[in-house]
Symmetry: C2
Subunit: 317 residues, 2 copies
């Protein structure tokens, strides 16, 4: 099976490529991964070919489909903080990039499965405590607005038969390794990762803010699962709210203390930032997971399991 | 006040320009209308200047804002039948046209009020009998998908402060004068208009299909009203489901018979067409009108009033 992953150099992209190459689900093995990103993908494997370019450039997008592709994982995106800071760049990558990629798929003989990574950030404004499946999101960020447009495009190109698409709304993925990024939710990883590394850090939202999270392991497993689901199982509705855990920063810090002691917790100062609180606080704190669970998507056991996964992965690298 | 109307040569555009020029709402009078369309707008008035071009062409869009504009009514669109038949042209006009227009507004010193004419056609799939305000539309037509993208763009450009936008979802507008058009809902006017002119016609959907309609007079009055609403009244949510009447073709034919007798009704044959039934049948049969009514939007009294309006206007032309 030939797979294209966009945003392949990112944290989720690299994790997903690893999961695809290790796949033991019984489907035809992945023998070729085209790893596309604006910067070279560092995954080293004889089955992985790296391509660098701008996904919104039609010539670059077309070059990715010179041979047939069976499955596309479209992760390439400008994250929330950058899309808010540079409006035109956000539209270019998140909207034009998605449309250019979908258009390029039309050259294939068989419509490929396209998995579009959408996000909890599409939600905003007044929300019910648990957001039902049919809820209209009113994004309060450029990133959220751009991701909704991507969802609508994927559904429409699917309805027209150009692709066999599925759009999955990922929770905030934590705990991420490495450095903070430009996502407004970067702190959700930072308040665990930094203290465990002996670094002081700041929580920029109130400690009782409801977050909807999943671990990197669950995120990549669910993306891979979205690539294997039969189209018929989606029953004409290619948009899936992925399951997650509802946690507050306060509960995450309690869990941090269980792992790292009071000294770790003491490294986190709570200093709410109005802009981050407004946008992250507008995201959904919980989504109804029933349909996603029926479709076989996974969820973390609890916040301790999420942190334990990070501690294990940090120890192994 | 200077107003730009796109899609000005269309039926709604011409009616809206008339309503704007006759406006007695007490706001500053409209002393200049820029009437933009792909074909010349036939309205003859010393206050109306016609411009022809492609709204998705950035140079043409920019030319419309060489002087300040206070209010933009964006009606230009490829209708549902044509968008379904020519996918790329639908995206070009309905998506690229809207974005190009919104981008051109960014050159103005003061963000203009932008009224975006959206549509009941955004809805599709399984719907509640009365669609609540927060319902996620799953369009089953390219036109519907493109209009949702327009709504999201208008909301986002408004949130960013580039425009002062409002998107109103119009019911099916009937009874339209003139010839059938490429809208899949064209028959909703045709089953009244043609029999009253002594012409045989076809109803391509089952007679009990629920339709959500408003008269041309109410549609133009509501578009004009959307141009005058204070931004504060929208409370951060620029998307409004306009009120309408729920009627079936059967009820419309009963009303036709009251006006035109049994001979008129006998001119309508019911021959359901699978494609039209699938798409038009996927649109909402009723929307919760509470918010729109609070905001001062109007609704027709009943289907007899809708038909009487058509009979009066046909007699006066």
């Amino acid at each position: 099976m030939r797979v294209l992953v966009t945003g392949a150099a990112g944290f989720l992209g690299r994790g997903l490529i690893g999961a695809l190459l290790d796949d033991r689900s019984g489907r035809p093995p992945v023998d070729h991964v085209l790893a596309a990103d604006a910067v070279p993908c560092p995954v080293r494997d004889r089955r992985v070919v790296t391509r660098t370019g701008d996904i919104a450039d039609p010539a670059f997008a077309a070059s990715l489909f010179e041979r047939e592709v069976d499955l596309v994982h479209h992760l390439a995106a400008v994250v929330s903080g950058e899309a808010e800071a540079d409006f035109d760049r956000g539209l270019h990558v998140n909207v034009d990039g998605t449309r250019t990629l979908l258009d390029a798929c039309r050259s294939l003989r068989t419509p490929p499965r396209v998995v579009f990574a959408s996000t909890i950030a599409v939600f905003g404004g007044r929300l019910p405590d648990v957001v039902p499946p049919d809820f209209w999101p009113r994004p309060q960020s450029s990133y959220g607005a751009e991701k909704i447009i991507g969802e609508v495009l994927v559904a429409e190109y699917t309805r027209r038969g150009f692709v066999d698409g599925i759009a999955v709304r990922l929770p905030t993925v934590a705990v991420r390794p490495g450095r903070p990024n430009a996502a407004l939710s970067s702190f959700v990883s930072g308040i665990i990762r930094e203290p465990l590394a002996g670094i002081d850090t700041v929580c920029p939202v109130p400690l009782d803010t409801r977050l909807w999270i999943c671990s990197p392991g669950i995120a990549t497993a669910n993306l891979a699962h979205a690539g294997t689901l039969a189209a018929a199982a989606l029953d004409g509705d290619p948009l899936v709210n992925l399951p997650g855990l509802t946690v507050t920063p306060g509960e995450m810090l309690d869990a941090l203390e269980r792992v790292g002691g009071r000294a770790a917790r003491a490294r986190v100062r709570c200093e709410p930032d109005a802009r981050v609180t407004r946008i992250v606080g507008s995201w959904a704190g919980a989504l109804d997971p029933a349909r996603a669970r029926r479709l076989g998507f996974h969820v973390d056991r609890d916040v301790d399991a999420v942190i334990a996964q990070f501690v294990r992965s940090a120890a192994s690298t």
